[in-house]
Subunit: 336 residues, 2 copies
C-alpha cells in the first residue's frame, strides 16, 4: 500500500473528562502537529472497556466529554480526523487476524501489560480483552497506516510489539501491506498530581480538569505541595519535587522568568505564596477560554456526535482499505 509521508495516530480512553496532565502531555502537542501531518485521533472506547467491562456506562458517558475536550483545546476537525474506535469494524477484524500470529506468552511478556496488570490488581481476574490489548493497539496503529505514534516512554513496548506484528504479517503476504511505526516521545515528563503524587488521577482527587472553575483552580494551587522545609520566606527552598515549580515549568510561557524564580527560591527570599500567585495567574489564563469553549460545546451534543460521526466515516473508509489489503494478501475473499 502507498502511504502519505507521515501519518499520526493518537488517542485517549474515554474514562473521564481530560485534565491538565493530558493537556501538557499530549493535547498541546496535537494542536501543533495537526498543521504539519495528517493526524487521526481515536476515542478508544473499546480499549476503555478492557478494564471496565462491567461498567460500560463509565465509558459510554465520556465519549462526548472527551470530544468536547479536544475541540475546546483547539483540535480542529478540519485538520485532525477524530473518530470512535467501536465504530470501525476493521480494528476488531484486524485484531482477530493478528491474534493468530501472536502467542499468549508473548503478550504476557509485554512489560507495559505486566506493569498494568500489577497496578490494576487483576491477577486471576484478568479480562482476556485486557491481556490482548497490545494486539488491538497494533491493529489500531496499522489500520491507519500510522508511522508516528505519540506516546510516553512507558508505552515503548507497545510500539515494539506492533512492529513485530507488522513484520510477521507482512511476511505472510506476497507484497507488504503494513507500515512500521515509531514512537514520537513526549518532550515533557508526566505531570504530577497537585498533591505531588506521580500520577494524576480523578479517583485520587488530585487533578484539574480542562473545565475547572476559577475557584477550583485557586483552591488547587493554594493546596499545592511545595517544599515542606521551606518555613520562612527568607529560608532557601528546594525545587526538587516542588509541584509548583513542576507546573510552572509545564505551563508558564516565559521560561526565563521561571528560571529566575527558581534561582531566587533556592537562594531564599521568594515565598511560596508569590510563586503560587504566578502559577495561578498563568493557569487561570490558560483554562478560562478552554472552559468557556467547552461549556458551549458540551451543550450541543448533537453537533459533537455529528462531528464524531463524520470523522468516523472518514476513518472507516481509511481503515477498510488496510483490512481489505490484508484479507486479499491472505487469500480471503473481500465481499463487501
Amino acid at each position: 500500500m502507498t502511504h502519505p509521508q507521515h501519518l499520526i495516530l493518537t488517542g485517549d480512553r474515554p474514562t473521564g473528562p481530560l485534565h491538565l496532565g493530558h493537556y501538557v502531555g499530549s493535547l498541546r502537542q496535537r494542536v501543533e502537529l495537526q498543521t504539519k501531518h495528517p493526524q487521526f485521533i481515536l476515542i478508544a472506547d473499546l480499549q476503555g472497556l478492557t478494564d471496565n467491562g462491567s461498567q460500560p456506562e463509565k465509558i459510554a458517558n465520556n465519549v462526548l466529554e472527551v470530544m468536547a475536550d479536544y475541540l475546546a483545546v483547539g483540535i480542529d476537525p478540519q485538520q485532525t480526523t477524530i473518530c470512535l474506535q467501536s465504530a470501525l469494524p476493521a480494528l476488531a477484524e484486524l485484531t482477530m487476524l493478528y491474534m493468530n500470529i501472536v502467542t499468549v506468552s508473548r503478550v504476557e511478556r509485554n512489560p507495559t501489560v505486566k506493569n498494568e496488570i500489577q497496578q490494576k490488581g487483576f491477577s486471576r481476574s484478568l479480562p482476556t480483552g485486557f491481556l490482548v490489548y497490545p494486539i488491538s493497539q497494533a491493529a489500531d496503529i496499522t489500520a491507519f497506516g500510522a508511522d508516528l505514534v505519540p506516546v510516553g516512554d512507558d508505552q515503548l513496548p507497545m510500539i515494539e510489539q506492533t512492529n513485530e506484528i507488522v513484520h510477521k504479517m507482512n511476511g505472510l503476504l506476497k507484497t507488504p501491506v503494513l507500515r512500521h511505526c515509531k514512537a514520537l516521545l513526549s518532550t515533557t515528563g508526566r505531570l504530577p498530581g497537585i498533591d505531588g503524587s506521580a500520577k494524576m488521577s480523578k479517583s485520587l482527587g488530585n487533578t484539574l480538569t480542562l473545565s475547572a472553575s476559577e475557584q477550583e483552580i485557586h483552591q488547587a494551587v493554594s493546596a499545592m505541595y511545595t517544599d515542606p522545609q521551606h518555613l520562612r520566606v527568607s529560608d532557601p527552598g528546594n525545587i526538587e519535587g516542588n509541584v509548583v515549580f513542576t507546573y510552572l515549568d509545564a505551563f508558564h510561557p516565559d521560561s526565563e522568568k521561571v528560571a529566575a524564580m527558581k534561582e531566587h527560591y533556592q537562594r531564599g527570599g521568594l515565598g511560596d505564596r508569590q510563586c503560587k500567585n504566578e502559577l495561578e495567574a498563568c493557569l487561570q489564563t490558560l483554562v478560562a477560554p478552554i472552559r468557556e469553549r467547552r461549556q458551549q460545546l458540551i451543550a450541543d451534543k448533537e453537533m459533537l456526535m455529528g462531528l464524531l460521526k463524520h470523522g468516523s466515516e472518514k476513518a472507516h473508509l481509511h481503515t477498510q482499505k488496510t483490512l481489505h489489503a490484508i484479507k486479499r494478501g491472505l487469500g480471503l475473499p473481500v465481499m463487501f
Copy 2:
C-alpha cells in the same frame, strides 16, 4: 430482541475438503434440519486461522471446496444460509466486547480448549486467537441468535461458556439481547478412520472425501480394519472395533440386514470379503452422485462465490442487528 422459534447455527473450519466423517456426523443431519428450522452454516475461516495463522493459504484455498461439499450433499441455499465468518464484522466486534467480560483463567479452564491445546502440542507457543476461540464461538452463536447448536459431546463446554457470556452480557443491559442456546447432540458417534483409529484425518491418510473415486472407495474398503483374529470364514468374528461394521451401521440404509449380518459374523460363516462387498456397494451408491455434483460445482467457482456472497450478505444484515442491539444496550453510539 425477538427471535424465531428455533434457529440453528452450525459450520466447519475450512481446513480441507469434507469427508465421510462429516457426512455422517453433521452434513446428513443438516440436510434434514434445513426443512424444519431456519439454519445458518458458517464457513469458519477465522477460526481455521486460529491454529493456522502462519499458513493462511491452507484456509483460503478450502473455502470454496467446503462450499462445494455443502451443495453436493444436498444443502439447499434456498433453505440454508451459507456464509463466511471473515465477511461478518459483527462476529469480530462482538468477540472484542465479550473478551472484556471473560477472564483469562476462565478460558484456560475450558475443558475443550485444554484438550485441544494438548492435542495440538501448543504449550508456550499457543496463539492468543486459539486461547480465545471459545469467546469467538460464543460471538458466532449469539450474533445469529441461534438457540440450537449441533455439536459433538466434546463441544459441550463451549455451549456452557456461551451461555455464561449470554448471562453476563444480558445482565449489563437494561433489556436482555442475547439468547441462551443448547446443544443439539449428534445421534451418531464419531466415525473412525478406515484404519480403525479414533479420528479421521487427512494427515493420517485414513479418510474418504466426498469426492473419492470409485477406485479409492474400493481400495479403502479392501484395506479396512476388521477382526484380526477372524482368519477363516467359518470362525466366529468380533464386531467390536471392526470398522466394516461401524461403517455398515453408519451408512447402510437397511438396519435389519446389518443386524442379521452382525449375528451371522459373530456366529461364524460370514467372510470379511462379503461384508466388505456389501459396504462397498453402499458407499459407491452414496458417493457416486455426490462426487458427480461436486465435480460440476467446483468447476464453477464464480457461481460458488456468488452463492457464498449472497448468503453472507443476508447473514451480515442478521448479525448486525445483534451487534447494534448490544452496542445500544451498552450505551455505545451506533453510527453506520
